[in-house]
């Protein structure tokens, strides 16, 4: 009997319609920006090890930074970068495949692009017609495809190719870089891209996610407006030594920095920017986190539940690896994969690094939970600066030079819950109204006095 076969081919229709559903338009745009940034880093020859350490030497002067220009409206989406372009070889063998070939993983200069689907998914999601024009120093190509026509033939491998036109390399008026234009937008894309909220949200997302790249390695614009980075508000002071820890774990280099926050313009610590920041190959996946995701769990853990008194805390974790698959991020690279073993091990050490900073903040609030003179003084000394400075320093323990503060507590706080009816009964019994704090103090003092325990008496 001749061997029978059941077809198990990938169908174009699936890729055009189905696999774009689980990702948002905004995320697709970020994927395209990832590719441009990867290009810029390759072009500037910055390896993952050197990320954030080398930037002053690599690029002199702001005007030299490679640009990425994103623009869109109801009819068209375009991203133009001057990040070095894609080689013809890559375009032929890899760029348009779904996923990377095995050999590509081996020599990954691995930064942000990991799975090899960002480009295709973005194009397929947004529209029916795309044109990609790319030039390196020596060569260039154009790929211009109408996806409806392309979808018609789906019977063999050759049908899955895109025709390419070769063009010349970079010139003065056409610098090395890549330009992607998507037209004949899908209905969803058309309505999203004309929504002002999307533009605002996108700018915000970019300024957060790429905070460590913007104006350091690239310049980025959305619809004509420059996008600046958010600050990681870690503080600098002659009197404070941050905690810096560095270690390697399974091909991933990890750096943990924990210290007091920088003061804002008003000279205070702002709660919004406090907490943990986590970056994978420079891309921020966790920003100003104050939840149990980064260890703020209170009883049963080492770090407390976040309260305003901890707004002076900023911690930053950098995960860097040449193999982006080893990093603890989710497949969309938007958030942390909290179950990743490497994150669990690192979280351990984050808690240890945070402990002395938390203690210092607790001591500043000994008297009450509002800002005290101590805290204002400490905050006012912490200047804003570039996190890059700390990344370059050697490992050390957290230390605040403040020898005149006694270390051991002489006072503490008591908190407990009571029924309102009970308070009313007690207040009625005492015969005068007083604040809850004073009432608590009154009751405590009453016991001390009636048992002969007040200061100066012995039991």
């Amino acid at each position: 009997m001749p061997q029978e076969y059941a077809k198990a081919y990938p169908r174009k229709r699936f890729f055009l319609e189905m696999f774009t559903r689980d990702i948002s338009l905004e995320e697709c745009i970020l994927d395209l920006i990832d590719n441009s940034i990867d290009g810029a880093l390759r072009h500037l020859q910055i390896k993952t090890d050197d990320l954030l350490q080398d930037s002053p030497d690599v690029v002199d002067g702001e005007s030299e930074l490679p640009t990425i220009i994103v623009s869109f409206n109801a009819n068209e989406f375009q991203i133009i970068d001057e990040c070095g372009g894609i080689t013809v070889e890559d375009a032929k063998e890899d760029t348009f495949n779904f996923g990377h070939a095995a050999s590509k993983y081996d020599d990954a200069t691995g930064t942000l692009g990991a799975y090899g689907i960002g480009l295709k998914r973005a194009i397929f999601k947004m529209g029916n017609h795309f044109r990609m024009e790319s030039r390196t120093a020596d060569e260039g190509f154009i790929v211009d495809v109408d996806l409806k026509e392309w979808a018609v033939n789906d019977d063999n491998e050759d049908d899955w190719r895109f025709p390419m036109e070769l063009i010349g390399g970079a010139q003065a008026d056409n610098p090395a870089g890549t330009k992607i234009t998507i037209t004949e937008l899908s209905e969803d894309a058309r309505s999203s891209l004309s929504d002002e909220d999307l533009e605002i949200g996108l700018r915000r997302k970019i300024s957060r996610t790429y905070a460590l790249f913007l104006d350091r390695y690239i310049k980025l614009e959305v619809n004509g407006k420059r996008v600046g980075a958010i600050d990681i508000p870690i503080g600098f002071s002659n009197e404070v030594e941050p905690c810096i820890e560095k270690f390697s774990d399974d091909d991933v280099d990890v750096t943990i920095i924990a210290s007091l926050a920088a003061r804002n313009e008003a000279g205070n610590w702002a709660e919004q920017g406090a907490g943990w920041y986590i970056a994978c190959n420079g891309r921020l996946v966790v920003i100003a986190n104050k939840t149990e995701l980064t260890g703020w769990i209170g009883k049963g853990g080492i770090m407390p539940i976040f309260q305003p008194q901890y707004r002076g805390f900023v911690g930053v974790v950098f995960f860097q690896s040449e193999n982006p698959l080893k990093l603890p991020w989710t497949t969309t690279k938007r958030s942390l994969n909290r179950d990743a073993a490497i994150y669990r091990r690192t979280k351990n050490r984050m808690e240890v690094a945070a402990a002395p900073v938390i203690r210092t903040l607790q001591k500043l609030y000994r008297k009450d939970t509002e800002e005290t003179a101590d805290e204002r003084e400490a905050a006012s000394k912490m200047e804003a600066g570039d996190i890059k400075v700390y990344i370059q320093r050697s490992p050390r323990k957290f230390n605040v030079a403040k020898p005149d503060v006694p270390e051991a507590e002489t006072t503490t706080q008591i908190n407990f819950t009571v029924q309102v009816a009970e308070i009313d009964r007690v207040t009625a019994h005492i015969g005068r109204r007083m604040s809850k704090a004073r009432l608590g103090r009154f009751v405590f003092d009453y016991y001390l006095k009636s048992e002969g325990l007040a200061n100066g008496n012995r039991e």
Binding site: K299, G300, G301, I302, N348, A355, P406, E407, A408, E409
Partner: protein, 317 residues
């Protein structure tokens, strides 16, 4: 609890059980040193107060000369410095939780969290911090009071004790525990379970190491106390522990699920001791002296601790 004549069991002035515990720990560390673990190079951090008894033992019998004594009570600052027995002991008036992050990662540590009160959430927090932070080879010990929480004169109230435990360390307890679990006689086992869970939770972030139990003591000089201890061990340390003579000791515990080693020191006079010692180590079960009254249980207790009891009132300072 042991049976027998109560005049043999109440010994308030000397804290004999605590001293036996210390001597057993020193004995254990000596055996580990023989097995190749360089205890003499460790740093010893404890809560010496003004007596420093454990510090003297660690320095004299193990040769440890990096030591740190931590005391929370600010009003004892001068007394502590005055009473510090050796120049190689640093003293610090601070909460132990503030000191742990400052412990150097360049040496291994013996850290004894020798709390004198009933368990609080800060105890488990400090324990977890130590376990998450200290380098491989370090030994962590924790002692807590396992009397019921609350004033001593209060009526037995397991429901109140349960709500205290839920409040302080509820995260280490199962959801629906019957009140019976909080009866006085079960508190040692309950506390062991809580501390063991805290250790496991802290170890979950240290995947290439294990926490090897070494000690689980139960004793009462006044309040009943438990001490759990173990080592942060990699493969080399595990081999050393299991190859050492520590495994032969009656006080060694390789698992916290096993019943604890109970330290009970019967009160015997000097003459009685000399007589008993002539019959040690005791081979015959059920033997009691004819010359004076001592119960079978008291003889058994004596046998389990006699080598670690100070023979005369030992001046340790």
């Amino acid at each position: 609890m042991a049976t027998g004549n109560s005049s043999r069991h109440v010994q308030y002035d000397l804290r004999a059980c605590k001293q036996v515990e210390r001597r057993m720990l020193v004995d254990a560390f000596q055996r580990l040193m023989q097995a190749g673990i360089p205890i003499q190079d460790y740093q010893y951090t404890g809560m010496g107060s003004i007596h420093f008894v454990d510090f003297v033992l660690m320095h004299r019998y193990l040769g440890i000369n990096k030591m740190l004594s931590v005391e929370k009570n600010v009003s004892l600052k001068k007394s502590i410095e005055f009473n510090c027995p050796f120049g190689c002991i640093d003293t610090r008036v601070a909460d132990i939780g503030d000191v742990i992050p400052d412990l150097s990662s360049d040496v291994s540590h013996i850290l004894w969290l020798d709390y004198d009160g009933v368990i609080e959430n800060t105890f488990t927090r400090d324990l977890m911090l130590a376990i998450q932070q200290l380098p491989v080879g370090s030994i962590v010990l924790i002692t807590v009071d396992v009397d019921p929480p609350g004033p001593a004169s209060a009526e037995p109230a397991p429901e109140e004790w349960k709500s205290y435990y839920k409040e302080e360390v509820g995260t280490f307890l199962e959801e629906k525990l019957p009140v019976n679990e909080f009866r006085r006689s079960n508190l040692p086992a309950l506390n062991t379970q809580i501390l063991n869970r805290a250790i496991k939770r802290a170890m979950s972030g240290r995947e290439h190491l294990s926490f090897e139990p070494l000690f689980n003591f139960l004793y009462a000089d006044g309040h009943p106390m438990i001490t759990l201890g173990g080592m942060l061990a990699g493969d080399a340390q595990q081999r050393s522990i299991h190859g050492s003579s520590l495994k032969l000791c009656n006080y060694f515990r390789s698992s916290f699920s096993d019943s604890p080693f109970e330290i009970r020191v019967p009160v015997v006079t000097r003459r009685e001791r000399l007589f008993l010692d002539r019959n040690m180590p005791l081979e015959t079960e059920g033997w009691t002296p004819d010359e004076f009254e001592l119960s079978v249980e008291d003889v058994v207790d004596y046998k389990s601790v006699y080598r670690y009891l100070p023979i005369f009132a030992e001046l340790v300072y």
